[in-house]
């Protein structure tokens, strides 16, 4: 099976090599979708992992035992189209362009790019962005 998970490390970058190692010992294939390390925020890593269900589960238990936060991700934030006016204020804080203006200046949210940093929730003057988790 394939699963998208978001790892968060208490200090910047510290947990990253360890996470890779642990995943390898559980025979999991993975690709790094996004790595986001900010001085003001903890380090986060969005991974897509492939492997047997048992291996994935065991790997996640192992990561958690090592103080690495693990979350399943689909789409973390939701834009309420009835409230959104396509002003663009939210795009200012989105470091990975998950929120973007289209060619006709409408707002679009790309679920797959989102890192759940949640900065956009507070950046929206219309309060049109809701965090699902």
């Amino acid at each position: 099976m394939t699963k998208k998970i978001l790892l968060s490390f208490p200090q910047k970058a510290a947990g990253q090599p360890m996470a890779m190692e642990l995943i390898k010992t559980y025979h999991l294939d993975f690709s790094i979708l996004k790595a986001f390390i900010d001085d003001n925020i903890k380090g986060t890593l969005l991974l897509e992992i492939k492997g047997s269900e048992a291996d994935i589960e065991a790997g996640i238990v192992y990561l958690r035992e090592h103080q690495i936060g693990v979350r399943d991700i689909e789409s973390v934030v939701e834009v309420d189209q009835a409230k959104c006016v396509s002003c663009g204020a939210c795009t200012a804080v989105c470091a990975v362009d998950a929120l973007e203006m289209t060619a006709d200046w409408s707002l679009v949210h790309h679920d797959d790019k989102c890192l759940e940093c949640m900065l956009c929730v507070k950046a929206c003057p219309m309060r049109a962005i809701h965090a699902i988790i």
Binding site: D39, C87, V93, D104
Partner: protein, 388 residues
């Protein structure tokens, strides 16, 4: 050949007026040339939809029995001014509510009223011989009020700064959230569609000009506060910094909640998104040349908002074409740009105003008075000691 306001209005009445937006007109001028385009086009519509803090509403509640001279007034928990006559008040857009803070402010009350919702009115008074009631607690809707009109002292800025943050801390401003270490740039204007950038010397916009205001037909009532027609300009007259502003008036009962919306700027306060459209009559070639301006020819400054002074330094002069491209190069660093006002909604307003004119529902009003040129803004000096 020059046209008069009256001639254009007669064409509107006959349903023959040629009306295009300030974006569409650019291609027309390129194709036909200034002279022919000036004859062909009668009205160019401009618009903007963005946060305008200096906004608010005058409301008259009517008298209860026995009557009250309202002193301390709140509407949905937001304080309104109690220093007018008995049942008149002014509700400011940026006033935060007493229980929800900036998440629900005056602007939200105004948009709720326009949306037809009932709002909770509480008022207190000392009681007088002629106004014996000391308290009132009731619910009102917009339709229950005698008069309700927006009177916004400063709207539709003619050009505005772009913002950047040169410090190492994230900043929460009225220009949105600014990431540390020059992480991003924000800007707020409709550029080549923006009303006052299409008539830079305010030749056709003055007191009395009829406008699209929040979905209603409103008027320019006065020059806006901090009216800075003495701002630096390029050789054609376009402002390079914040320039003129307008005070606007319009009937809330005719407005649409789509175009007047409460807004919250994290760590800063409540504001109001206001939709404004202004028609520019193409009286002559000079006006046609003004409205043909493009984003690449309109400039503003990227200002460092981390400097806690009134005079903040400019890091670069940039065109709106550069800002709209999504990234600007500052000293070799490519910095992402984000808008704060909605071009999508501005376009919708420019189209809507155009439709009103084409259908003969909206006529041009020639200004009854022009605004001063060379008007500079003053600062506030801090004087020590007793009054002098």
């Amino acid at each position: 050949m020059a046209k008069s306001y009256q001639e254009i209005n007669e064409k509107i009445a006959r349903g023959e007026a040629v009306v295009v937006t300030a974006e569409e007109v650019i291609a027309i001028v390129k194709e036909r040339g200034l002279k022919e385009a000036a004859q062909y086009v009668d009205v160019v519509t401009t618009a903007t939809f963005g946060p305008m803090c200096s906004s608010g509403a005058f409301l008259n509640f009517g008298h209860a029995d026995p009557p009250i001279r309202m002193g301390q007034i709140t509407i949905n928990g937001v304080e309104a001014y109690g220093g007018l006559a008995a049942v008149d008040t002014y509700l400011g857009a940026t006033q935060p509510s007493q229980d929800k803070g900036i998440e629900y402010g005056g602007a939200h009350v105004i948009s709720d009223l326009i949306a037809g919702k009932a709002v909770h009115l509480l008022a207190k008074s000392q009681g007088t011989d002629c106004y014996p009631r000391k308290e009132i607690d009731t619910w009102v809707k917009l339709e229950d009020l005698n008069e309700a009109y927006l009177f916004n002292p400063r709207n539709v800025y003619q050009n505005y700064n772009a913002a950047i943050n040169g410090s190492s801390e994230r900043l929460y401003t009225y220009m949105g959230i600014l990431q540390p270490n020059m992480g991003n740039i924000t800007y707020s204007t409709a550029g080549e569609l923006s009303p006052l950038l299409n008539d830079p010397l305010l030749k056709t916009i003055g007191m009395g000009t009829r406008i699209f205001f929040g979905g209603a037909q409103g008027h320019v009532s006065w020059m806006g506060t901090q009216f800075n027609s003495a701002c630096p300009r390029d050789e054609k007259g376009y402002p390079q910094t914040p320039g003129a502003t307008l005070a606007l008036i319009g009937n809330m009962k005719e407005m649409n909640p789509k175009y007047i919306r409460g807004a919250v700027y994290e760590g800063y306060g409540t504001s109001m998104f206001v939709g404004v459209g202004i028609p520019i009559p193409i009286l002559n070639e000079e006006m046609m040349a003004f409205v043909a301006v493009e984003n690449k020819d309109l400039y503003t400054n990227v200002i460092d908002y981390s400097v806690p002074k009134k005079a903040k330094p400019s890091l670069k002069k940039v065109s709106y074409a550069e800002l709209r491209s999504g990234a600007v190069d500052i000293n070799g660093k490519i910095i992402k740009t984000s808008p704060l006002s909605s071009l999508k909604m501005a376009r919708e307003i420019a189209d809507e105003l155009g439709n009103w004119i084409k259908k003969g529902q909206f006529f041009l009003q020639e200004p009854i008075q022009s605004f001063p040129q060379g008007n500079a803004i003053k600062g506030l000096e801090i004087k020590e000691g007793e009054s002098r």
